[in-house]
């Protein structure tokens, strides 16, 4: 060894990746996953890698870890860690570095913890392997780090198994594990994707603080531009295996020099975007498959600035855009980056029509046996929905917002008829359907109320062609007299969701995620649905596809005057497309109002925290910083009084005892704006806006 890697005297870059190329080898061909990738991380610096799924960002991380599996191989370039090339290290040397010098935090905390090993043992292992410390010292160290990641009752934590912890706590344990031996480099691979927004905000905050405390450099991989803005110093945008733009956060966010980065920013709903006045601009076309990449610029076929004969010829190098800012575009100096955005087709805001759906004091309780194994007598009641009352009108978009366990999916199930209401009523055209299970509903009602599901990958039958599946829905809705009729109608539906008619004969596996979701939408509209429940319809899709699918939903809604119930946890997209917003927490509706009313003060304290938690990819936005303590309580064992009282930052103002004992009444703040909170009018009036756009 040239010098000790633990030697703190080293002051060059922690990580230096130079022209790295990684390929996966299958029997058929070599598939290049990463090409010509360079990056540098200085001590204490955080580098963000952003890109859509399949762009190779996780492969870079695994390449740094030298853990590419049997099929992956580094085919070119070097990865230098503190000046030493990781590619030439032996397995023993690598093992020495892994976990002690470079640590990694993963996407799914539950899957990355050993289910049959106590947390403490998993943590203690790290210093015991790398520093050979005694079990007792390792335990002390584990206790200290668990306290550092702000977990309650560290001793009990160390003695638990992973399944006894909530998702947020598990991710904190994974972070603690990574920090056990104070690494110089921390790789975070989508660390918060599986978490709720308020939990995500707390975890991000923690990572930032700990990074500062321990002086760790970070490689932060994410698809979320807002998150990268909040955590990183430098950013690298990847597209189809290549880094296309690299620079400081401010440089790239405010002064982008690559068409893909620009297109990406235009397709995410930032404050100010509006579905009617300033619609999102989706990136046309699809992400190229690794073995179908075009000649020349990979982004060429989807680029607005494409110049035939120039952009499609050979290799395109990184060009220097000055001020430590680089772009892989031949034309970046010619493009006028400040040209105003060509505004997409503007549309009139449709007037909401008559009331089609009315909820009246809807309640849904579940009875759960306390111990399933013995079928004991003690039953617990889970209150999944508590007195839901609202109306939804024709051609209106009502967003239902809340984190996991807030009861939004239960509500959708009751509406669809998969469950029946415990109490209260659902009125569809003044006809009560709350107690009619789906088997007893007539075809018309079923066709009227349809659903678009979250995960398009699981909701299509993998062994049936796309056309057949839509025709099957038509058959069930008794539309068309024969197969020819239905086939014609099915082709029209494909037109409606803007899929080529040739797709009718394709199998679901031949479709991309966005295309599958379009099929899901076509199926939902097969029977001319009047109410569509969209359960997180775009959250499983990539950013550039999200915009297109959202636009499609909006367009169909305008044409068909559909009532859209949009269930989501993503407040940016909710703000962009909904007319009214309903915020739910632990089965209660805590706030309900028009989008403007909900997104501006006075807020319900939970809405305020939720707004503050959502990362926004705009450097001009100033956000008030609110971090909620703890996790969402279990619906099995809800807190007394106000459901939000355990995490509320305003509790002292409203009077502690009041919040802890009484469920707050529903109060009307303005026409159509209701809040469930004990705060006085004066306190509510004092609330400041969470999101402010700084003066330009």
């Amino acid at each position: 060894m040239d010098y000790d890697l633990r030697n703190d005297a080293y002051d060059g870059p922690i990580l230096e990746i130079d022209k790295l190329s990684i390929s996966f080898f299958t029997r058929l061909r070599e598939i290049p996953a990463v090409m010509d990738f360079s990056a540098k991380i200085q001590p204490g610096e955080a580098l963000g890698i952003v890109g859509e799924s399949g762009c190779g960002k996780s492969t870079v991380a695994l390449g740094v870890m030298q853990d590419l599996g049997v099929n992956g191989r580094i085919v070119g370039g070097s990865i230098k860690f503190k000046g030493r090339d990781l590619n030439t290290m032996t397995q023993e040397e690598l093992r020495d570095i892994r976990g002690s010098q470079i640590a990694m935090i993963y996407q799914e905390p539950m899957a990355s913890l050993n289910p049959a090993m106590r947390i403490g043992k998993q943590l203690m292992e790290v210093p015991m392997i790398h520093e050979g410390v005694s079990e007792k010292e390792a335990y002390e160290r584990a206790l200290e780090v668990v306290t550092d990641v702000k977990l309650p009752d560290p001793k009990r934590m160390l003695n638990s198994f992973p399944h006894q912890l909530s998702g947020g706590q598990q991710q904190r344990i994974v972070i603690a594990m990574a920090l056990m031996s104070k690494p110089s480099l921390l790789i975070l691979d989508e660390p918060t994707t599986a978490l709720d927004v308020t939990v995500e905000a707390a975890v991000v905050e923690l990572v930032k603080d700990l990074g500062k405390k321990y002086g760790t450099s970070m490689l932060f991989i994410s698809h979320n531009l807002g998150l990268v803005l909040e955590t990183c110093d430098r950013i690298c945008v990847m597209y189809s295996g290549e880094a296309v733009e690299r620079g400081s956060i401010e440089g790239v966010f405010d002064n982008m020099q690559h068409p893909y980065t620009q297109a990406l920013f235009r397709s995410i709903p930032l404050p100010g975007a509006d579905k009617n006045a300033r619609p999102l601009i989706a990136i046309p076309g699809n992400f190229p498959l690794p073995h179908e990449r075009p000649q020349g610029c990979n982004f060429g076929p989807r680029c607005d600035y494409f110049e035939a004969g120039r952009c499609d010829q050979g290799y395109i190098p990184m060009g220097d855009a000055g001020d430590d800012h680089e772009s892989r575009c031949l034309r970046f100096q010619e493009i006028d980056w400040n040209a105003p955005i060509a505004v997409g087709a503007q549309t009139e805001k449709p007037e909401p029509g008559r009331v089609v759906l009315k909820m009246d004091n809807l309640k849904k309780y579940y009875e759960v046996a306390a111990s399933a194994l013995f079928g004991g007598n003690s039953k617990k009641v889970v209150k999944a929905n508590e007195t839901l009352s609202f109306e939804a009108r024709e051609s209106e978009t009502l967003a239902i917002v809340g984190e996991s366990g807030c009861g939004k999916s239960t509500f959708a199930k009751v509406l669809m008829g998969l469950e029946t209401a415990t109490d209260g009523e659902i009125l569809l055209d003044n006809k009560s359907i709350g107690n009619v299970p789906i088997e007893d509903r007539d075809t018309k009602t079923i066709a009227d109320v349809q659903m678009v599901f979250q995960n398009p990958f699981d909701t299509l039958n993998p062994s049936m062609t796309v056309g057949r599946q839509i025709m099957r829905a038509l058959e069930i809705f008794k539309i068309g007299n024969n197969d020819n009729d239905r086939r014609e109608r099915m082709l029209q539906l494909l037109d409606l969701v803007k899929l080529p008619r040739a797709f009718a004969d394709r199998m679901p596996r031949q479709l991309s995620g966005g295309q599958k979701q379009r099929v899901g939408i076509a199926r939902a509209f097969a029977g001319d649905a009047r109410i569509v429940v969209a359960d997180e319809p775009v959250s499983a899709l990539d950013v550039s596809v999200q915009a297109a699918v959202t636009d499609l939903l909006m367009e169909i809604q305008r044409e068909h005057k559909t009532t859209l119930l949009f269930i989501s946890h993503d407040l940016s997209i909710v703000r962009y497309l909904s007319d009214r917003v309903m915020v739910m927490y632990l089965g209660h509706v805590v706030e309900l109002g028009t989008t403007d009313q909900v997104f501006s003060p006075p807020y319900h304290p939970y809405t305020e925290a939720l707004l503050s938690a959502v990362p926004i990819a705009d450097t001009k936005i100033k956000k008030k910083h609110i971090v909620l303590e703890g996790d969402i309580p279990s619906a099995m064992n809800p807190p007394s009084g106000c459901p939000f009282q355990t995490r509320c930052n305003w509790k002292d103002k409203a009077g502690r005892t009041l919040c802890e004992t009484e469920v707050p009444p529903v109060r009307m703040l303005a026409e159509g704006h209701q809040v469930k909170c004990h705060l006085s009018d004066v306190d509510l009036a004092e609330m400041e806006p969470v999101i402010e756009i700084a003066a330009e």
């Binding site: 870890m65 853990d67 049997v70 093992r95 020495d96 570095i97 892994r98 976990g99 002690s100 640590a103 990694m104 993963y106 799914e108 899957a111 990355s112 913890l113 050993n114 289910p115 049959a116 090993m117 292992e125 790290v126 392997i129 790398h130 198994f161 399944h163 994974v174 594990m177 111990s371 194994l373 013995f374």
Partner: protein, 348 residues
């Protein structure tokens, strides 16, 4: 946990009662009884003589009454026979005196007389079960560690040369039933045919004094068959665990490969095969029937064959009661062990 075991025991007893009732009804069908009367009395009995023989010995009482007496929850019969003799069940069909108990059934430990061996059923069952227990113990000692080692070695690097060769061996060993492998093993290792006469082809002497020489062949015959099966299960579970994300976490923590396998993968990989291993116990009970007969080892399986072929009703019933309990107890152990292996399952 205590409550759980209690409940399971209750279920076990209920199952045992149901199963023994079925066996009891089947062995007490009239043609069986007729055969019994003729073998015990004389082969040229008239139909009337058979009836009176059976009536005098309580065989023709209602089925439930008979079952109750056998079980020991109803008083044993005392019949003044048509031939002038008084017979009582509890006095071994002789005239009862003041020492004769009222109840005599399984519960009181009265298992009846074997008609073939002319001995107490309880005595036969316990010695034979002991002998089979010895055989099963050694089978398990060879089979379980062998299978787990093969499975783990094959599964830790899926698709490697070790994996392929070990998998092939396990498939071959599972695909060969005992009556084939036993015959082949005897031919190869117990005859001078191939010049490898290392072992004895009969295990009769192993009943008193088991040693490597006389016990190896029966043990390995049973073990080979089960070994392949458990090894396949372990391999499948191991390959799945080795691709799990927490194994990657361990690898990127710097844990060495042997430690990954031993500390992180093994416990998780054993959860699925554990149930299979415990299910092998009841299967072993029936597997030994063939092997014990083949190697002339007079154990439990051999006794079952003798009892069945000689219409020995009391012995047959005794054997089935014991089998039922062996099966149910191993399943209870399997459930309890599962809880210890898998922390996600908690009883209480």
């Amino acid at each position: 946990m205590g409550l759980f075991i209690l409940r399971r025991l209750g279920v076990m007893i209920l199952t045992a009662i149901c199963l023994t009732f079925i066996v009891f009804s089947l062995t007490n069908l009239y043609p069986n009884l007729e055969k019994l009367a003729k073998t015990q009395g004389n082969f040229r009995m008239s139909d009337e003589a058979v009836t009176s023989y059976l009536t005098n010995r309580g065989y023709l009482q209602p089925r439930l009454v008979k079952y109750g007496q056998w079980l020991g929850v109803m008083p044993g019969y005392v019949i003044d026979g048509s031939d002038g003799e008084t017979r009582a069940r509890c006095a071994a069909n002789r005239t009862p005196d003041e020492n004769t108990a009222t109840f005599c059934g399984i519960i009181q430990g009265e298992w009846g007389q074997s008609t073939v061996f002319k001995e107490d059923v309880s005595g036969i069952v316990s010695t034979r079960l002991g002998l089979t227990g010895k055989l099963m113990f050694w089978v398990m000692m060879v089979m379980v560690p062998g299978a787990l080692i093969i499975g783990v070695l094959a599964g830790m690097r899926e698709g490697s040369r070790t994996d392929r060769s070990l998998s092939t061996i396990s498939i071959i060993s599972t695909a060969t039933p005992e009556y084939v492998s036993g015959v082949i093993l005897i031919a190869v290792f117990a005859t001078p045919l191939f010049g490898m006469q290392y072992f004895k082809g009969t295990a009769t002497s192993a009943m008193d004094d088991a040693n490597f020489n006389n016990f190896f062949l029966p043990v390995i015959t049973i073990a080979l068959y089960g070994m392949g099966y458990i090894a396949r299960m372990t391999r499948a579970s191991m390959t799945e665990v080795m691709t799990a994300q927490y194994i990657r976490t361990a690898r990127l923590k710097g844990v060495s490969f042997p430690n990954i396998v031993m500390k992180h993968a093994l416990r998780n990989a054993l959860i699925a095969p554990f149930t299979v291993i415990m299910l092998q116990f009841p299967w072993l009970l029936n597997g030994v029937v063939i092997v014990e007969t083949l190697f002339n080892y007079k154990g439990f399986g051999w006794t079952l064959v003798q009892a069945a072929s000689n219409n020995d009703i009391e012995l047959l019933l005794g054997v089935s009661v014991v089998s039922v309990f062996v099966v149910l107890i191993t399943q209870l152990i399997s459930d309890i062990g599962y809880v210890f292996l898998n922390p996600r399952i908690r009883i209480s």
